[in-house]
Structures are given as structure tokens and as C-alpha cells.
Amino acid sequence: MKNQFNLNTSWRAYKTVIVMAVILCTAGIMAFALNSDGDHKNIIPLVVIKKDSVASVKAFASVYRVLMSPRCMNCHPAGDIPLQGDDSHLHTMLPKRGAEGKGVFAMKCANCHQPENTLGLHTPPGNTNWHLPPANMKMVFEGKTPRQLARQMVDPNHNGHKNMQQLIAHADDGLVLAGWNMGEGRTKPPTSHAAFKKAWITWIKTGAYAPKK
């Protein structure tokens, strides 16, 4: 009996070690896979989610106000023509999105929108990467309810194939930052970029819950 007991104990300990090793290897491989984007300088730690639906929905309310402000929404139109101005009217001259979101023929975005803002009122704002979302991934903001937009934001098939880490990093994307530097005479988004980024990350790290409506 004693030998049998020792044998069972040893076998259980052995199984425990095997199971732990498999778990650790799997976690290690997943972490490597999620982080291996080929640029090791930009490795972002895995997103730690601490679910809190109340805090998440509250944070998204702040995010939503920014995303629906003209500085963000104007380049996320429901149609194929960008919006313009604080009243989000159709862009004068009716430029079209084009397959890549960079315009068509003689009406490419960068033909008027320079790498930087042009000085003066009613002049084109600029950015080195000025464009709309592409035709096959329109990422529409215009007309979306908070619930619809929150669900779209976390759906890789509708958010530009971004995972949670990439969504967090996107808060510092050059074109997102440009929303706070759109040239003379244009109202800025309703919160600072720092406040937006904080709400954005809070929303994601508390579970990216969608509001009820």
C-alpha cells in the first residue's frame, strides 16, 4: 500500500509538472506571437483587462464625444465624400474616397492637403498621411450610435484589423493627433488629446463594453 501510495503521489506530481509546463509554453508562445510584429522597439505589453462595465461605458461616453466631433467624424463619413467644417457639410468640390481613401484622378487628397497645415483661414489643413479610410474598410462614424460605434471599434473586420494592443497604440497615430491641430479657425475636439487617450485606454482595459444604446 505504501509503495502504491508513493507511486500515485509521484505520478500526480509528474502530471502537475507536465501540465504546468504546457501552460507556460502556450502562454509564452501566445505572448511572443502577439508581440512579434517584426519591430521589437515597438513591443507593447499584453493588454491586461480588468472588467468593469460601469467604468467602461462611462469612459466610452467621453470617447464617443470626441469621435463624433467634426475633427474626427468628417473623415469617417457614411458616404464616399468627406465632410467639412464645424457643421460637417459635404466637402466642397465633392472629392471622392477612391479605393485607397486617397481620392481619384485629379482629385487626390494630397493635391490640396499639404504635409502640414496651410496658413490662414479657410485653407486646407495638412498631414503627411491625409486620407479617408479605404473603400473596403470604411470605418464609418457618421450616424452611428454609441453602441454601434463601440461594437465597430472592437470588431477587427470593421476597425482596420486591429487587436486591442493596436487599438491602444492608435490613440497616438499621427492622423488621430492631427485632429487636435487642424489649423486656424477650426474647433478642436471637446476634450484634450491626453483626456481622450486616458478615456480610450480606460474603455479598452475595463473590457471595451458597448453602451446599451
Binding site: 468640390m93 485629379a106 493635391n111
Partner: protein, 157 residues
């Protein structure tokens, strides 16, 4: 000193890199075919080609154009015989004519990218070029004619 390659000729000039390209083209090297219209990229009179794209030279800084390929209306063809120029003449498109160097430069990009454009594609490409004489219908007609001429020329422009 800044070097600009305009109509295959290099100009090296001591100029402010923040100067609009249009100033450089008209006032410094004296190519006055390109026109000043609004000065804020809203009318299209100042369109030139920058590496083949129809940029508005009134808001394009000289620094963006440095060492790039620039083509103005004077360089669109060797003998004013680009299919668009022939068609413009054939259809008597201009009225006052002020906007038409910009119209032609925009239309040239369209015909290069879309040898036989539809009416809708012409409208999409030309919507940023304003004509206060309202010659839009003749512009559209001439672009169709130019497309046919281009095809007869074996697709060359």
C-alpha cells in the same frame, strides 16, 4: 539655393522654401500660363503636375517641389498638340479662358489614368476646377473627344 525641375529644365534659385510654387513658376521663372485664382486651393486655376499628380501650386510650398518633376501647361506638349489641347480647340471650349490651363492639367491626369472616362468619372475628376463662364458641358465633350484622339494616336499623349 533651391533647385526645381520644371518642364524638364532645372532652375536653381535663391528662394524662400515656404514660397508657394505658383510664385516661383510665374514670378521667378516667368511661366505665366499657370494662373492665380483663389490662393487657397479652392478653384483649380493653378493646377500643375508634381510627379504626375494634379497639385494646386498656390498652396504647394517650393520645399515640397524641390528636386521633383513639375510640369506646367507650357510643358504639357511640345507643340500645343496634346489630344486635350487639340480637342479644346476643336470644341471651342474656353470663353474667357482664365481657368483653362488648370482645367487642361487636371483633365490630362484623368486621361492618363482613365483613357476612356465616363461622364461621371469626368465629373469626379474635374469637380475641383471651377469655371465662372460655365463651360462645363464643353469641357466634358472635349475630354471625350480627346479620349478618342488619344486612342487614334496609339494611346500616347
Amino acid at each position: 539655393m533651391i533647385s526645381l525641375k520644371i518642364n524638364k529644365k532645372t532652375y536653381t534659385v535663391d528662394a524662400d522654401p515656404n514660397m508657394p510654387l505658383l510664385w516661383f513658376i510665374r514670378d521667378i521663372i516667368g511661366l505665366t500660363g499657370t494662373k492665380f485664382g483663389c490662393g487657397v486651393a479652392q478653384c483649380g486655376a493653378c493646377v500643375v503636375h508634381l510627379n504626375g499628380e494634379a497639385v494646386r501650386s498656390c498652396v504647394t510650398k517650393v520645399s515640397r517641389a524641390e528636386n521633383q518633376d513639375i510640369t506646367t501647361i507650357e510643358g504639357l506638349s511640345a507643340h500645343n498638340d496634346h489630344p486635350l489641347q487639340v480637342a479644346w480647340n476643336e470644341e471651342n471650349v474656353p470663353q474667357c479662358g482664365y481657368c483653362h490651363s488648370g482645367q487642361l492639367m487636371s483633365a490630362a491626369v484623368l486621361l492618363r489614368d482613365k483613357p476612356h472616362p465616363t461622364d461621371q468619372e469626368i465629373d469626379d475628376a474635374m469637380a475641383g476646377n471651377i469655371c465662372r463662364c460655365g463651360t462645363y458641358l464643353r469641357i466634358r465633350k472635349a475630354i471625350h473627344l480627346a479620349a478618342d484622339l488619344q486612342e487614334k494616336n496609339g494611346g500616347t499623349v
